[in-house]
Amino acid sequence: MKFLATIGLEVHVQLLTRTKMFCACKTDYGAGENTQVCPVCLGYPGALPVINEEAVRLTVLTGLMLGSKINRFSKFDRKNYFYPDMPKNYQISQYDCPFCVGGAVEITCGEKVKKVSLTRIHLEEDVGKNMHIGELSSVDFNRAGHPLMEVVTEPDMASPEEAFAFLLALKQILNYGLVSRCNLEEGNVRCDINCSIRPEGRERLGVKTEIKNLNTFKGVFQALNYEIARQTEVLNSGGMITQETRRWDSERGVTESMRSKEEAHDYRYFPDPDLLPVLLSREQIQLWEKDIPELPRQRCARLARQYAIPEYDAKVLSADKDLADFFEKAAGLSVNPKAVSNFVMTEMLRLLAEKEMEIKDAQITPQSLAELVKLADEGKINSNSAKQIFAALFEKGGAPGRLMEAMGLVQVSDAGEIEDFVRKAMESNPKSVSDYRAGKEAALKYLVGQVMRLSRGKANPQMARELLKQKLG
């Protein structure tokens, strides 16, 4: 039997604030254990929370970017349960009055474009991190109290590919709004999955399972693939799906049961009496609306239009805000945006991926890229040399013109000089010469290559080609 999958996601996003959700502790990643803590985030007796307004702004901004309705009356609730990494044994979260309700994220999956609807976006505090060292267990509370935004989707996705596309699209938008770094290595984005399957043609949804705490997008994709296959197998062999919480074991590539719904928590939500409700004025929301940045899709369209570059280029560039920013700066300084785009899309992306770097860590500046393109356009360097200079700029920075000279890459466009190379190439490759004269076009290409080799890449390939053609008659 053919089954259809139904997938919903709860995405937890660490917000890009300098300080924690309810105290003035820093949110820097990678600090020594328990060095960014205070009585408030450790839940010490008598300590009280105070709302971080920047976290509220970022959450509301996210809602505005995604077309949610913003609740002007909102409040924080206590979610009660015991866990060693949770200082107060209740988490301050939002229950029935989240900041944002509804909204959607547009995704592209293959050729298909679709909207994934959102249920809500709310704000809460993160918990600490348990660490197990041999027999010993300890807790690092640096993360406890970090502002955490939770984006809850409707069960609108039908495949692991769509879930993956959703996460990418969401990440792009959050990056654009400077809402979160969305750095997966630093645990900035974590995800819970709800997944069920049902036979094709049936309306009613199947029994769902929840897979907790995925921290990579690839993990979400793989866990869903596994889970859908597992559920399909259970149903095909006449079994039943139990509603339960499962865990993704990335080492073994399987999901496994954590606890069944019968032992589910009663969180006993109630309004946190230490915090007053949050009342947002219309003026405040309008003010924040002004912060809505141009979103990836809009930027894609604009890049294609403004710089006359292909749709494909615009899409790749706009997918990453930093990349697009870099491109626009360089393209603005250049008369040849397409050439700039080519460099960014090929050389830049390749080097970033090879060296596992972020664009801000590369030494090349938009100005130097624009100059490099100019050198190439003016015929002072050929494309090979340009790539070499680009790599050097990427690594160490500097001025392209000076690098070109220092690296000895100035293109030889002096006809006399090139004639020497042409002569040498013809002398040492008589077979190719006769082949060409016998009508083999390909031999010309080989001879041009020889000229380039003899000139150590500096000869102007167009001129070499023209001269060869003349000589070969």
Partner: protein, 481 residues
């Protein structure tokens, strides 16, 4: 306190001498009274020396060198803060509560920690994990609670003044039982930062003093907005002391019918009625008023207070501080055993009650309903203060202090003793307890003055005028007896 400040200012005595004198009194009497759970003599003497040093250098601060006692649930950096619970035995506070920081800034000296009912749950100070506090007027009797240690220390002259906390009457009722002045400020008037929470929406820190003027001085120091407590109000703090007056001309006093009920102790009623007459003589106009929602207050209180407490006390789990049960196999067992061993019976009773009223399926019937009735109770007060009177006069408790052990086996009876104090906490208004006479057995009786939110100035003015006319506050217990 005013006299002590004058003595210190005029260099007739030093803070060191004063603290040494008090320590001597505490050494002599406190084995009988049990007002303090811990006394860090070195710490107190060092602060006194520092205060004297500052004065020698010419520093003048309102409370410079004045010794105060602090209820054991308000955090003082470097001192133990056990909340009279085993679960926090030996716990040393890593920071100052905002009220402590403000008193410190004015030069106050912190003598020691006063006994209380565990986590402020109780009305007799019999629920402390460490000791029973006795009423200085008669050691067979309870001092009231939960700030019983602070009240007893003030009454027995073991301190100049003290801080207590009032969630459902915990400042006013012991003040009434021990014959001192106790003020519960309006909710939001005083920062709760550093006050170990019992019920966050009801708790307020309040001064416990020998006279109304002292309460005015202390309130002025500790009141005002604190950015660390978002429930603290951004409302200007008046100079309460300079607002005090000795007459009540033009003041309209309401007598709430629901506070003079059948079953109320006859001697208490007599004292309170006499006080009302005294106030009339001082120029106040007396009117009868109704607060019809009053009978529901106790039920509403025990739902809301327990619900909040069940969450507030969840942090005591043995993971980060306080006591931890030994040899548990997993975290769950560790929590269960730590909390089973660490909390006393009354605390457990309230956590269980609070957990129950918040649980799914019962939330609407209990917690949500209680919140709605709470709103109605608040509206009762808003209406009478808007339309009928400036303040209300009422008894603090239906009866004077009772014997130790008399009610401890009957929590419900004990809960009903809070009937006259609880509504002020639910409504967030301010209320003051002032001595207004003695029973035939020489036990103090307190008069309660209730005022609109943030009108402590009116309350203190009325309390002061009455106190100065009646002079009950000058009687001292014979602690040797």
């Amino acid at each position: 306190m005013a006299e002590v400040s004058a003595l210190l200012r005029e260099r007739k005595c030093s803070s060191l001498e004063l603290v040494q004198e008090l320590i001597a009194v505490i050494r002599k009497n406190d084995s009988q009274i049990g007002a303090f759970v811990s006394l860090d003599e070195e710490y107190a003497l060092a602060q006194a020396r520092r205060a004297d040093e500052l004065r020698r250098k010419g520093t003048e601060l309102p409370l410079l060198g004045v010794p105060l006692a602090v209820k054991d649930l308000i955090n003082v950096q470097g001192q133990t803060c056990t909340c009279a619970s085993r679960i926090l035995s030996g716990y040393v506070a890593p920071y100052d509560a905002t009220v402590i920081a403000r008193l410190r800034r004015e030069g106050a000296v912190f003598l020691g920690r006063t006994n209380m009912d565990e986590f402020a749950m109780g009305a007799s100070t019999e629920n402390s994990a460490y000791k029973i506090t006795r009423n200085p007027w008669n050691r067979d009797y309870v001092p009231g609670g939960s700030s019983g240690g602070s009240a007893a220390a003030v009454a027995a002259d073991e301190t100049i003044a003290a801080l207590g906390s009032d969630t459902g009457g915990s400042v006013r009722q012991p003040a009434s039982f021990c014959g001192c002045v106790g003020l519960k400020p309006s909710y939001g008037r005083v920062s709760r930062y550093g006050l170990t929470a019992f019920a966050s929406s009801l708790d307020q820190i309040g001064p416990m003093t020998k006279c109304v003027r002292d309460a005015a001085i202390l309130l002025k120091t500790i009141a005002g907005h604190d950015e660390r407590d978002s429930t603290s109000a951004k409302i200007t703090v008046p100079d309460y002391e300079s607002g005090l007056r000795t007459d009540l001309k033009g003041l309209k006093i309401g007598l709430p019918k629901e506070y003079f009920i059948d079953g109320m102790d006859a001697e208490v009623e007599k004292c309170v009625r006499a006080a009302v007459a005294e106030c009339e003589r001082l120029g106040a106009a007396i009117v009868d008023v109704n607060l019809p929602m009053t009978p529901h207050a106790v039920a509403v209180y025990y739902i809301i207070a327990c619900a909040e407490a069940s969450a507030n006390l969840a942090r005591f789990d043995g993971v980060r501080y306080g006591c931890r049960a030994k040899n548990a196999d997993d975290p769950y067992e560790m929590y269960c055993r730590t909390r089973a061993e660490g909390f006393g019976a009354e605390v457990k009773r309230r956590i269980i009650l609070g957990t129950y009223v918040l649980s799914s399926g019962y939330y609407d019937a209990y917690y949500l309903r209680a919140q709605k009735v709470r709103t109605l109770i608040r509206r009762d007060f808003e209406r009478v203060f808007a339309e009928e009177c400036d303040v209300l006069l009422a008894p603090v408790a239906p009866a004077p202090a009772y014997k130790i052990g008399e009610k401890i086996e009957d929590p419900l009876q004990m809960y009903l003793g809070d009937i006259f104090t609880i509504p002020a906490n639910l409504a967030g208004i301010c209320a003051l307890s002032v001595p207004c006479g003695f029973t035939a057995q020489n036990l103090p009786v307190g008069l309660q003055i209730l005022g609109p939110a943030f009108r402590e100035d009116v309350l203190l003015r009325a309390g002061y005028a009455y106190e100065q006319a009646a002079q009950w506050h000058l009687r001292r217990p014979d602690v040797k007896k």
